[in-house]
């Protein structure tokens, strides 16, 4: 009985029960994700025939002596059984962990997302350090693409078959077919290098240092990133709108004499937007874990750039830390979307 929830207590307890259920599911999901991440880094290489020494060499950096590698195997306990290793790894996230660096001891306080032997520091503070750049990029782009993508999708659906609709959908199809590093390079080449309107790559400044420079440097990355997603969202919104507009309740709404604008906004758009918000949560969560391609193209020192630099420098603990961090963001985003969904749409929490 959708929508028949009385506005009193029973509905509220159902919402709370739903939220508790989803939180438990999210925690389980985190356990699965951390186990999967661990398996990728420690189980798959072993299964493919990598020796503990070979693995250690990827954790201590490029130019390590055989003795240093042997030491690393001991220090990282790479010759322990795999379950013991996972136990230590999970414990480190919750309670912290110490790493011995030859004579000295290095502390990695909780949450220990690993320890980079390349630059002798825990990964977690580096992640926090890089987070603002990624947040700026992801949220700015999200605002642009949500407004433009959904707007274009709605207009296209309402003006279906017109020149406007066909042009918008052709551009959108081109948008989803263009790799972001190509559009990024072209826009850098045209707007930054040739025309000189915007600053070039690598000019990101933290907002706390200089808000104006922060804004200027992010305009191109925002637009480039948003173009891809706006294209995707325009296609989704248009398809969703067309489907909703042919529903019976839209005809009913029109038949009872509602204004067309009310029918579109209150009845059609609302139903179309709910599934799109789910996808939006996932996409945003994914980007917060590092917009790898955009950050590399524009040399923004965010989390995505961090992971690429770490791969190139053979600094696997950082890669592991970022992967885990990103997975946590996605699970979190999923959880938030689920809860919002249940608050907005009563059918969800009843099923």
């Amino acid at each position: 009985m959708p929508g028949s929830d009385p506005p009193g207590h029973p509905g509220r307890t159902i919402v709370v029960a739903f939220i508790v259920r989803r939180v438990i599911a999210a925690v389980l999901m985190l356990a699965v994700v951390s186990a999967a991440t661990f398996a990728i880094f420690f189980l798959i290489p072993r299964a493919l025939g990598q020796t503990p020494e070979g693995m250690a060499s990827r954790y201590v950096g490029r130019d390590a002596t055989p003795e240093a590698i042997q030491g690393a195997v001991k220090r990282m306990h790479l010759d322990d059984p795999i379950l013991v290793q996972y136990g230590r790894f999970a414990q480190g996230i919750v309670a912290g962990q110490d790493y011995s660096l030859g004579p000295k001891k290095a502390e990695c306080p909780a949450p220990c997302f690993g320890f980079s032997f390349n630059n002798n520091q825990p990964v977690w503070p580096t992640l926090l350090d890089r987070l603002p750049a990624t947040l700026s990029l992801a949220f700015g782009a999200a605002i642009v693409w949500l407004i433009s993508g959904v707007g274009i999708g709605v207009i296209s659906a309402l003006r279906r078959g017109t020149l406007l609709d066909r042009t918008a959908m052709t551009v959108a199809l081109a948008g989803v077919s263009l790799p972001i590093y190509f559009t990024g390079l072209v826009s850098l080449s045209v707007f930054a290098y040739t025309l000189g309107i915007f600053p070039g790559g690598g000019s990101y400044t933290p907002i706390t240092q200089n808000p104006v420079m922060w804004f200027q440097a992010l305009i191109l990355p925002w637009i480039t990133l948003a173009f891809l997603y706006a294209a995707l969202y325009a296609r989704l919104t248009r398809a969703g709108m067309l489907e909703t507009m042919s529903e019976d309740y839209i005809r009913t709404a029109r038949a009872k004499g509602l204004k067309e604008s009310t029918v579109v906004v209150k009845h059609a758009l609302r139903a179309t937007l709910t599934p799109i918000l789910t996808i939006f949560g996932l996409d945003l969560g994914l980007l917060l874990g590092g917009a790898v391609l955009t950050e590399s193209t524009f040399s923004i020192q965010g989390i995505g750039k961090l992971v690429i630099d770490a791969i190139r420098g053979n600094d696997l603990p950082v890669v592991l830390g970022v992967t885990l961090f990103a997975a946590f963001f996605i699970v979190l985003a999923n959880l938030i979307v689920d809860i919002l969904y249940a608050v907005v749409d009563p059918r969800v929490r009843l099923s």
């Binding site: 199809l173 263009l178 790898v292 992967t323 999923n334």
Partner: protein
């Protein structure tokens, strides 16, 4: 997509799917779903253009290398031959204007070492399409099997597989791929170098995108298993295996085909992204993504080096998308 069909019949009977296509209550006579789809597809100009480009590119990729034709060397150059004499040592850009585009080098030359871009783009097409097709095959096999099992058996099997799909869809795929390639030993499974890289990339892409196929197949199976022909088969004594493979799956060929076609461009972009990030195909083997990485440093002096591989990706992905969209519109009986 309005595609009214020639209407010649009178009665409203037979072919329930075909009747849906009738305009104004008039029915069509004796056309199979496949024929209807074909007629609709033929009217979709964009899809036909996409199909032609797809076939053209596939043929190029097949006949690129020596044993089948050697198209790469059409202009007399191979992908890994440097032409240092054609490069300006001061700027690293090709000496001749327009990126060194000439009759011998129709797409120009790579900055720094002067390798022929035509040969490299063709060689990259091979890698790109090979990886995309194989990865799609992997995910179609996994996705179709798990999807049909989930939809057909329902209950806890369905719950388990559906949860698994959620988990896979929630993973930061690109980061995982980067991590797997990074943690990989140099030699494994009797493979090394690019052979190992390509196998691993195919496996990663295929293994993480099966839920897209499985979701569709599961949904369709849920409704198919209630149909009369499944009951009929069962009452004749058919087992679950027979019903799944002989009765249900053949009816799912169309949706699987559509979503496989739409998965290929995604996989092409994925491979290109990995190569762009330096965790895909390695130099000196040419790949479109790898060429764009190198273009990052030279787009100011040699813009053609960015445009050539970029357009190659764009045209290929767009063609597959146009074909996939067209197929979906043509095969979906509810599409209007």
């Amino acid at each position: 997509m309005t595609a009214p069909l020639d209407v010649s019949g009178q009665a409203m009977e037979a072919q329930p799917e075909a009747v849906l296509e009738g305009v104004g209550g008039k029915a069509i006579e004796g056309r199979s779903l496949g024929q209807i789809a074909w007629i609709r597809l033929k009217r979709d100009k964009a899809a036909i253009i996409g199909a032609f480009v797809v076939v053209f590119l596939t043929l190029i990729a097949i006949f690129a290398e020596r044993p089948f034709g050697g198209l790469i060397a059409l202009f007399g150059d191979l992908p890994n031959v440097p032409h240092n004499n054609l490069i300006d040592p001061m700027t690293s850009a090709p000496k001749a204007g327009w990126g060194g585009i000439s009759l011998e080098h129709p797409f120009g030359l790579e900055p720094v070492n002067g390798r022929d871009l035509f040969a490299r783009v063709l060689s990259g097409a091979q890698i790109s399409l090979l990886v995309a097709f194989l990865a799609t095959l992997v995910s179609v096999v996994i996705g179709a099997l798990l999807g049909v099992v989930a939809g057909f058996f329902g209950g806890w099997v369905d719950t388990l597989i559906s949860r698994l799909m959620d988990v896979f869809l929630a993973f930061p795929l690109l980061l995982f791929a980067i991590a797997i390639v990074g943690a990989l030993p140099d030699q494994a499974l009797g493979l090394q170098g690019n052979g190992l890289r390509i196998s691993v990339i195919v496996f990663i892409i295929g293994f993480f995108s099966w839920p897209y196929i499985a979701r569709i197949v599961r949904g369709q199976t849920l409704s198919l298993r209630e149909r009369e022909f499944v009951d009929a088969a069962r009452s004749l004594g058919a087992g679950n295996g027979y019903i799944i493979f002989r009765e249900v799956l053949p009816n799912l060929v169309a949706p699987i085909l559509v979503y496989a076609t739409l998965l290929i461009p995604t996989n092409i972009l994925f491979e290109a992204s990995l190569s762009f990030l330096g965790v895909g195909v390695n130099e000196p083997q040419a790949s479109w993504g790898g060429m764009l990485t190198r273009a990052v440093d030279y787009y100011q002096i040699a813009p053609h080096f960015m445009i050539v591989p970029g357009l190659a990706i764009f045209i290929t992905v767009m063609a597959f998308n146009l074909l996939g969209d067209g197929l979906r519109d043509a095969l979906d009986p509810r599409a209007r």
